[in-house]
């Protein structure tokens, strides 16, 4: 066991997989010699050589396409897209190709490619360094979608994804790289070494896809969330003294419907929280599933806590971010007696 922040945990996952499996290679913009703009691949090119940790041209579409080609030639590429906001030039290859190769060839070809990309706001990145586009990818049949909220999960999930024979888009909430964050930017930053999930096994281990983590058990309300909002939601519920059950989904596709529904059946109330824009965000699917499966158990309408339906503005970062106040408002509403 060692203290790791989320970056170090991700680096460790890639380090282990590079060491374990010669078919694993890394590729992306600035990831090689430099170690990545967020330092996630720091030291790996030195250790594994520039033929396995490969700097690429600035062409997200080309990166995804080339990685697909490599993956059908027996490699397991891990491609970094520098910011999730820049994944769209690769969107066609992801949707039309990566997601479809197994299906259209009846399993004869498949593309075990993992696309890592930092997402979310809270670092003054403005509208082009803050987006959370995960919801879009969950609508694309054939792609798995993962978002860890802490170092321990990040490492175990990334190893699982690299070993998985299906393609995965792996979102990393960059605001959590260096420590958990409860949504209050005025408080001093908390590092991961003070948090139990910052204790990370140095060796190989996996965290399964499709298995949500119950961060806190509770009886009064279920909060379904993932990524940055895990800690914000927990802090808001704690401040209100609510006995909330908090579910960190970790993987959006496949989705752990059982854990969600078991919880909501127990609590009878549900709040869904994510940083992404509200309209047609992943929260809508979560809300729909809960409504469909747990309708008769619901004592109040499910509430969504989300970013607003605008781009993420540089000057109004904290007005945009769904902080504790927004979570509290939703919790208050959901707790109102019928």
């Amino acid at each position: 066991m060692a203290n790791m922040n989320m970056i170090q945990a991700l680096t460790s996952a890639m380090d282990i997989m590079l060491g374990k499996d010669p078919s694993v290679i890394l590729m992306g913009e600035d990831i090689g010699y430099f170690g990545g703009v967020f330092r996630a691949t720091e030291g790996l090119q030195r250790k594994y050589g520039e033929h396995r940790v490969i700097d690429t041209p600035i062409a997200e579409g080309g990166i995804v396409a080339a990685a697909i080609g490599m993956s059908i030639n027996g490699l397991r590429p891990v491609a970094e897209i520098q910011f999730a906001d820049y994944i769209y030039p690769g969107f066609d290859q992801i949707v039309s190709e990566l997601a479809r190769i197994r299906y259209r060839t009846a399993g004869d070809f498949f593309a075990p490619l993992t696309i890592r990309t930092p997402c979310g706001g809270g670092i003054r990145g403005g509208q082009t360094h803050s987006q959370s586009p995960e919801g879009i990818f969950t609508h694309v049949s054939g792609i798995k979608v993962v978002m860890p909220s802490n170092p321990f999960d990040a490492k175990g999930l990334l190893i699982t994804c690299i070993e998985d024979d299906d393609p995965v888009v792996f979102f990393e909430p960059k605001r959590l790289y260096n420590g958990p964050f409860d949504g209050d930017p005025t408080k001093p930053a908390v590092p991961w070494n003070a948090h139990p999930k910052g204790q990370v096994d140095e060796g190989y281990y996996t965290v399964p896809l499709g298995k949500a983590d119950i961060v806190r058990t509770g009886s009064e309300v279920t909060i379904i969330t993932y990524g940055t909002m895990v800690f914000v939601a927990a802090a808001a519920a704690a401040a209100m003294n609510l006995d909330a059950e908090i579910i960190d989904l970790r993987s959006l596709v496949p989705l752990d419907v059982d854990t969600i529904c078991t919880s909501v059946r127990k609590t009878g109330r549900c709040v869904v929280a994510h940083e992404a824009t509200r309209f047609s965000g992943f929260g809508a699917e979560l809300l729909s599933i809960v409504q469909e499966e747990c309708f008769w158990d619901l004592e109040a309408p499910i509430q969504r806590v989300t970013g607003w339906d605008t781009p993420y503005p540089h000057a109004f970062e904290w007005e945009y971010f769904p902080g504790q106040a927004r979570v509290s408002m939703a919790l208050k509403t959901v707790m109102e007696p019928a």
């Binding site: 990685a67 080609g69 190709e97 299906d166 496949p254």
Partner: protein
């Protein structure tokens, strides 16, 4: 409102009712273009991108430095493959007209591209074809029945009913799956070749794209990555002059050859007579040797003509001169190779007729076998449960539930 637009629009030489005009096609005499060493520097082979490599001359003789000197048996195999491709095409087109299959795409007039290139490569080279490269399937020996079952989406369809007709693949024969989305295979082939290089393997990748599709971003990605990493890949642009109704000028062919994009990106580019079996074979061999010996990628532009409609959903009489095909200055690849073989004494009209009859019979009997596995509307049917498989390696819970729902719905 009279607009005095100054926008340039590419010239389209002959629309319906106009006289075919191929004066825009720049043709070098057969034998005229020198053949550089396979390891020549890009800057020293720049001329290859603007001239046109040709071997077969108007007298059906093979001339010049690019003459590949193939054995008679190889020529005969080439002719057979091209003929089979054409006969298969004609028959499948008729089956579509008869409602047996939903859609078909012919390669009439372009058979030399797939057949000669397929033959010049080795079976362990990985091919990323487009939808008009059925000749590659034939060269690689995919049984016609397999191809037909794909067209029929029947119980033996290699795609399990999931793809439109002509979107074949064969893992065992190193033929990658054809995509309905244009150009996507181009950079994938480069990635495949990069992986081969990383693994230290000697195989190369080859891929095909229509000249119209070179406009897609993936064309650029392919050239760029191939150039940066000097990937062992052959990038083929099949310039058959048309992209559905759109003339090649709209893909950038008016200002410069497509082959010229190669040197622009720092790789060799070769323009070749795409209806000259020998020339196509020879440039492919050159590019393959270059790639295998570490010389990097080559972009080959194969100048040919789409002899038929774009697909069974298309009617070219709406947008190009009716007798355009007949005036195509580079002739017909089958007729040209046949004439050469007769001239060198390795073929005859009689053998040709016999071969045609044999291949027609083969296509007919293959079809008879294929339909026993089902057609669109009759005979055995794929189990619709298959719809839910292969979305992922293991079927997730939501798809299991939907599969159950569908069963209920259909009962």
């Amino acid at each position: 409102m009279p607009i005095k637009s100054r926008l340039h629009l590419p010239h389209v030489p002959a629309r319906p009712g106009e006289k075919p005009d191929f004066s825009y096609v720049q043709i070098s005499p057969a034998g005229a273009v020198p053949r550089p060493q396979v390891n020549a520097l890009v800057k020293d082979v720049a001329h290859l991108a603007l001239e046109m490599v040709r071997v077969l001359d108007d007298n059906a003789d093979a001339v010049g430095a690019w003459h590949p000197h193939l054995d008679a048996s190889e020529l005969q195999v080439g002719l057979r493959h091209m003929l089979l491709t054409r006969i298969y095409d004609e028959r499948m087109q008729r089956m579509q007209r008869g409602g047996k299959i939903s859609f078909y795409i012919r390669s009439l007039g372009e058979e030399a591209v797939s057949v000669a290139q397929g033959m010049a490569l080795s079976p362990s080279d990985m091919l990323f074809p487009g939808y008009r490269n059925q000749g590659l399937q034939i060269v690689r020996g995919i049984p016609l029945v397999n191809l037909m079952c794909q067209l029929l989406s029947n119980t033996r369809d290699m795609c399990k009913g999931r793809q439109l007709p002509v979107m074949y693949h064969s893992k065992a024969n190193n033929l990658f799956s054809i995509s309905g989305n244009l150009a996507t295979q181009f950079p994938q082939a480069v990635g495949w070749a990069m992986a081969a290089a990383i693994k230290g393997e000697g195989n190369l990748a080859a891929t095909w794209i229509g000249e119209g599709s070179t406009a897609e971003a993936d064309f650029h990605h392919a050239l760029l990555f191939a150039s940066v990493y000097q990937a062992p890949v052959i990038l083929n642009v099949v310039n058959n002059q048309w992209a559905i109704s759109t003339f090649q000028g709209y893909a950038g062919g008016e200002q410069r050859s497509f082959a010229a994009r190669g040197p622009g990106y720092g790789m060799a580019g070769i323009r070749v007579d795409g209806n000259d079996f020998l020339a196509v074979y020879s440039v492919t061999q050159w590019a393959a040797e270059r790639a295998r010996t570490g010389g990097g990628p080559t972009l080959i532009e194969l100048v040919t003509y789409r002899g038929a409609a774009h697909s069974t959903s298309d009617d070219p009489a709406r947008y190009r001169a009716k007798d355009d095909a007949e005036h195509w200055p580079l002739g017909d690849p089958i007729i040209r190779l046949k004439a050469h073989m007769i001239k060198i004494g390795e073929w005859s009209e009689e053998r040709h007729e016999a071969l045609v009859a044999e291949l027609e019979a083969q296509v007919v009997s293959s079809w008879k076998e294929a339909v026993t596995f089902g057609t669109l509307n009759e005979g055995p049917k794929l189990d619709s449960d298959l719809m839910f498989e292969d979305v992922f390696k293991e079927m997730p819970e939501n798809l299991q539930r939907q599969q159950a729902l569908m069963r209920k719905e259909r009962s």
